[in-house]
């Protein structure tokens, strides 16, 4: 699906800045993201990528500027089923099995039509791991479970912090495939990467963050 630029963008940030203890983390930034788009935020270590994502989903408050979701100002209370965040911490329970974790996510966030937790697990390459407790999976396998959660829960906007980290080559391809699928279905995603490996399908729009001097 081609991004449609006539309607209000899914996510829009206007003159967004964030300052921690009087130290600017990222400068005034304008981003807009339409349905069907994947945008890559690139930047060196410490340039503020993680911070930006947290501001965009309302977990941190911007120092100035504002964030609009479907044209309306964003607050934590108004997110309702629209945004999914995948950060450094995956939000999965190590003591539960992969399937139990996904069932919980579905209970909390609902489920897309035509998919089940088992199918989602299979499509991230974890068939046969359904009853394995998460604690016994390796770092990359855990990340895949988090990707399966993205596939299940209906959220139009994905904010993914370094989705490629800890994954091997097939894992990286998997992320790209999943992102493509999401964009084609009318979703949008903002992903960060420090540039050693990156979203490769098509030529995604890139936003470069610079380390504040």
């Amino acid at each position: 699906m081609e991004p449609n630029h006539d309607i209000a963008p899914l996510l829009q940030a206007r003159a967004l800045t964030y300052t921690r203890n009087a130290e600017p983390i990222f400068g005034p930034l304008d981003v807009s993201l339409h349905a069907g788009e994947v945008v890559l935020i690139e930047g060196d270590n410490g340039s503020g990528k993680t911070t930006l994502l947290k501001v965009l989903c309302g977990l941190l408050e911007p120092s100035s500027g504002d964030v609009l979701l479907h044209g309306a100002p964003l607050t934590l209370a108004r997110l309702s089923h629209q945004v999914a965040l995948l950060g450094h911490l995956l939000g999965l329970k190590m003591e539960l099995s992969t399937l139990q974790n996904l069932h919980f996510a579905v209970g909390m966030g609902g489920i897309r039509p035509g998919i089940t937790p088992r199918l989602a697990l299979a499509s991230v390459g974890l068939e046969g791991y359904e009853d394995q407790p998460l604690r016994t999976l390796s770092a990359g396998q855990k990340k895949r479970v988090a990707l399966a959660r993205l596939l299940l829960v209906p959220a139009a906007l994905w904010l993914l912090d370094e989705p490629y980290a800890n994954l091997d080559r097939t894992g990286i391809e998997l992320v790209n495939r999943v992102l493509d699928h999401h964009a084609r279905r009318g979703g949008a995603a903002l992903i960060t990467s420090h540039g050693a490996y990156a979203y490769t399908s098509g030529a995604p729009r890139r936003i470069a963050l610079k380390t504040a001097a």
């Binding site: 977990l59 965040l85 329970k93 003591e95 539960l96 919980f104 209970g107 909390m108 609902g110 209906p154």
Partner: protein
């Protein structure tokens, strides 16, 4: 039940947390053993005279159970914070106060209720007169949920900090001193043969108030300390 509705979310949360507690049932026993041991220390510290021990029994049991459930409060959001689940909970579209109320209820049922169940044993250890025991149990049944509720607000405030256990104690204790005065006071009055219903009624009234307000306050506090 449609997935994604608020009811489904509460059920999912309850089920997940109960499963987790079952998986770590060893941990759930710890507050129990802690309070037994604290109570068992007093005869060593004070000597085995029955009269002295009986005099302090109700108060000591109260203090030991409050400490045990207080220390276990620290885990209320800890593991959710550490693995990022708390962030996902806050970002979820459901009323946070309701989700927190579920968590608090589970915490009370799984860690504090067992403490009340073994209170008669502790009472035996300190020679509490049998007539006082029912008063002690009622007082505990009213005071401990109050502690869990008030405590959850403080835990929510300190949740982002490392090693918040002691700080938490510090925040909570002044708030629960009234509960202690009334609860242990009722027991002492009963032991001395005086009327004891008034303090218990006070405790009940506070509990109702806390049931309504604490989850809302905890949700607000959690948002403050996470963002």
């Amino acid at each position: 039940m449609k997935p994604g509705t608020t009811r489904a979310a509460c059920v999912a949360l309850l089920r997940r947390d109960l499963t987790l507690i079952w998986r770590r049932r060893g941990d759930a026993l710890n507050p129990l053993l802690f309070s037994i041991i604290v109570v068992a220390l007093f005869p060593f510290a004070l000597g085995p005279e029955q009269a002295t021990l009986a005099r302090i029994a109700a108060g000591t049991i109260f203090v030991a159970l409050l400490l045990a459930s207080l220390l276990s409060l620290d885990m209320l959001f800890r593991s959710d914070l550490e693995d990022g689940s708390l962030e996902q909970l806050v970002l979820s579209p459901h009323p946070l106060s309701l989700l927190l109320a579920c968590k608090i209820a589970i915490h009370w049922l799984t860690t504090t209720l067992p403490l009340i169940v073994i209170a008669p044993l502790l009472a035996q250890m300190l020679y509490l007169p049998d007539t006082v025991l029912p008063v002690l149990l009622i007082a505990l049944a009213l005071a401990t949920p109050l502690l869990s509720l008030i405590g959850s607000v403080c835990v929510a405030l300190t949740v982002g900090m490392r090693r918040s256990g002691m700080l938490l104690t510090l925040l909570v204790l002044p708030l629960i001193v009234p509960a202690l005065i009334f609860g242990a006071g009722a027991c002492n009055a009963a032991q001395a043969g005086l009327p004891f219903t008034a303090p218990l009624l006070w405790l009940g009234a506070w509990l109702v108030l806390a049931l309504v307000l604490a989850p809302l306050a905890a949700a607000a506090a959690l948002k403050i300390s996470l963002t």
